[in-house]
């Protein structure tokens, strides 16, 4: 071993940046696939689910709900709509196009050159995610109708989603020892990915299906709009 002692931190860092990342990616994709397949089987059992589906009406409904202010509810609460849409947009785009991740792709054995966004913009997007999470947490406390249906798992999920962004931002700013922060960042990111298929974060997968089903039922079967 070259005579250099590996510190526990080195060991954790190496585990996190190697096997853990693979576990997370496989867990995320495999878990997602498993969920989709089992749900499709359950949906077949219900007999009415697949015959109800309509590509046209499903797509109409999805479009009206992924475009801000294209439905009555998002128009009724503009502040929440802006926060929520910015949050989801930044949440999905930032990890894919941050410079630090692009460099990793470049340095990997496949030497993939990947797009990246200007770092100033990414900083802002990261902070949008973090502050939106703070907003969601405060809203859970402040709005009685939300507090009433909130338990500790809701806060845990908000924290889980915010954590890779917060740790990533601190690491980039080098406010704290960078190796510690990077390790934490990778662990948080891996946990976040792993949690998606198995927690309420799975709405990432289900959104399209639940929305399309309601849109199909409303449009194809009932000749009405659901937005």
């Amino acid at each position: 071993m070259n005579g250099i002692e590996q510190s526990p931190l080195d060991w954790v860092y190496e585990f996190a940046s190697g096997p853990l990342v693979w576990i997370a990616i496989i867990g995320f994709l495999g878990g997602g696939l498993y969920k989709l397949v089992t749900m499709a089987q359950l949906a077949k059992q219900e007999k009415i689910v697949f015959p109800t589906m309509s590509a046209k009406h499903g797509a109409q409904s999805v479009l009206h709900w992924i475009i801000p202010f294209a439905n009555r509810n998002t128009r009724m609460r503009p502040a929440f709509t802006i926060v929520s849409f910015s949050f989801h947009l930044c949440l999905l785009i930032t990890p894919l196009f941050v410079m630090g991740h692009a460099v990793l792709w470049q340095q990997s054995r496949w030497a993939i050159s990947w797009w990246s966004l200007p770092s100033g913009l990414v900083d802002v997007m990261t902070l949008v995610v973090v502050f939106a999470c703070l907003f969601f947490a405060i809203r859970r406390l402040a709005a009685p109708e939300v507090r009433n249906v909130t338990d500790w798992t809701d806060y845990a999920l908000v924290l889980l989603v915010a954590s890779p962004f917060l740790t990533g931002f601190i690491a980039r700013m080098q406010w704290l020892p960078s190796k510690v922060m990077l390790t934490l960042h990778i662990i948080c990111g891996a946990l976040w990915l792993l949690a998606i298929p198995f927690t309420r974060l799975s709405h990432m997968f289900w959104f399209v299906f639940t929305r399309a089903f309601m849109g199909s039922e409303s449009g194809k079967v009932r000749s009405a709009k659901d937005w």
């Binding site: 949906a43 009685p144 639940t210």
Partner: protein
Amino acid sequence: MADRDDEKIVDPGIDDVIEKLEPKQIEQAVLRVLHEESAARLKIYLETCVHCGLCSDSCQSYLSRGKDPDFAPVAKVKDTIWEMVKRKGKVDGPFLKRAARIAFIECGACRRCSMYCPFGIDIAYLIMVVRRICNLLGIVPQYLQDTTNSHSVTMNQMWVQQDEWIDTLIWQEEEARDEVADARIPLDKEGAEIMYSVIAPEPKILAQLLGNISQIMTVAKMDWTMPSTDGWDNSNMAMYSGDFEVMGRVERLHWDCALNLKVKKIVMGECGHAFRGAVYDGPKWLGWSKPPIPMVHAVEFYYDLLKSGRIKIKNKIEEPVTIQDPCNIIRGRGLHHKLRWVVNEICADFRDVEPRYEHNYCCQAGGGLINCGPRWKVARMKSNKVKAEQFADTGARTIITPCHNCHSGIEDIIGYYKLGMHVAFISELLVKAMERPEA
């Protein structure tokens, strides 16, 4: 913060039944519905809900009760099915009493909240799952259960016997002849183009509506009939009490009745949930992809009659009118534009409501709520203050309600909130306004 007065209400159909239940029975019923009668929708809906509360402002009971969080749709799900799933069916009597009150009294399954949930979760479906569980345990508000019993015995909602039914039709045919000389109600006419369907409250308490349709059909020269035998009523309260077996029987007999008469289509009178039962819930339960012959709702039918000139308007109704958009034919069929067109044809001064169309507030009477009986009336009224305000804002005198549940529920609201308005079915205004041959 649930309403203390509501909690004190004793309903033998709920309280007496719960007293006799064993924990094992409860668990079995819950697990049967969770595992054997439901699958992907229930599971995905429960997994997807992120507890965001964005459905709250869609519910008339939440808005009417000073935004009491316990009345938000998501809270109604939390206090019922979430707990049943979490506790794997091991729930107790007090829990079930509350769950039954929520599912049968505080939610009309109008599906407005589904249009406010970003994921399109069908919250009304989740509430119907709760009703189904209650039903399997025999927990159903007494008055509502009585309507289901009536369906089971007589195949109509209000214990109407066949002789009473035929007698009422003949009586109303005579009444119609005072207005239109050759008015008829043709019984069991095989091969007629239309079978006209009504619900039991018509012969029982609103018989003049049968006379109205006789006038309208005669003036429009329609080839129509009504059955003299069971199968004429598809109001189907069993659909709302969670007794899907009886619901299936009622719907099957209704369609069989039309098929035996070899009619080309059914025209459904001014009733929303009967339409829903016949076109959606019944066929779904029976495993049919769609009804065997078409059914059109009265609103569509009147639209066709007026548009084609079969009925002409002579004297438009002058006093200001407004509309109740019934959930089962607006969110359930998209008839809002046709409804407005019809109303504008018949009435000179139409004042629209806000919110309208698919976004209209529920009447808090349909979905079986009004059928839960007088002991729950005040609770219903407290849950629909927004409806009273919505109508008061229009400045209209008459509220046109092309649905029996909306009609009765809004009549209650008018009285309770002293709105000084009155309700009317379209047919009541149409017979006054239409041109008819001299009697």
